[in-house]
Amino acid sequence: MPRLVQVLEHTWQERFFRKALDKLNPREREERASQVASLVKVLQVCSHPVIDPRLQTWRPSAYRGVIQVSKGYLVEYRFPGVMRVIACCFDAIAQASHQGLVLLLTITLDHDHERMKKLIRQSSTDIVRIGQTFLEQGSDEEL
């Protein structure tokens, strides 16, 4: 296995992840798990965690210099929709038998995308209703 893939347990256990997970039904959970697993399988065998062509499905981008990580660099992997996996890639500190290490830092699931969609729908309906009431009853200037 040319590259180790591990998880930063602290950030994957935090409540934001759990909260986002709770909003998914079993089928969605299964689907997301399978999507992340697919990425990890390629990471384990890739020649480079950003530029290996096999990773282009996830459109990886590195953020060198945004936040200084000793001996590592942040990489974002993109999934359909707004799901993202953020990793820290180390080329130097893996065991000698491996090319490097990918430390998975966090995953952003659908966050409140669906909730926001509902909110926009609901709010715009309310705004239309209030506007209609206003027009039917007349403005302050007319009163």
Binding site: Q6, V82, T108, V128
Partner: protein
Amino acid sequence: MKAKAQQPVFGPKLEAVLARLCEKLGSLYKTQAVKLPYLVDVIAAQHLGHRITEATFEAWKQGVVAREAWVGVTYPREGCFEIEQPEYDEGWTVRLTGKPTVRLAPEELAIVDIVADKYGDMTAQDLGSLTKSLNPEIPRERWGSNAEPATDEDAYARLSEGWQNLWRELPFLDLTDRSQWSDPIEDPDEYFRAMFRA
């Protein structure tokens, strides 16, 4: 010092967005006036398929700024706002005193309302940090260069709590501390099935 506006300086849609924000929040301090329209456009681009304002967004030292909003607040002219300009920059306050020249569609108003509700009580510093966190591609040294920030799906995805939390924690995490790492993943299917089931 109070300056009564004399000529419109915002684009019509930006003016309408700022007017709605004023209605929702009572008044805007300068940082809100220049940064909240960015969040409005990031969310609108995702949910409506287009931005609402015609503002030019730029990466300034303290975060993303809508250039036209900054100009309009700093050099007020006639319009629907009154800008109060005390000596210190952050005390500048924008108040609605008239009607904007165009109306926003209901779904556009809904998005502005969501931004006001969700981000309207943030401090200037937190707002700056939030807009920076949506643009990790812009390296630290380029903030202040007027680089163009993202308003695409990536920027929207980074509004998630998970990303925001990671962004806040990252400077304090020792990522090289191996005691925090899981064992190497051997079977990704099984590993993530278990993790997502738990």
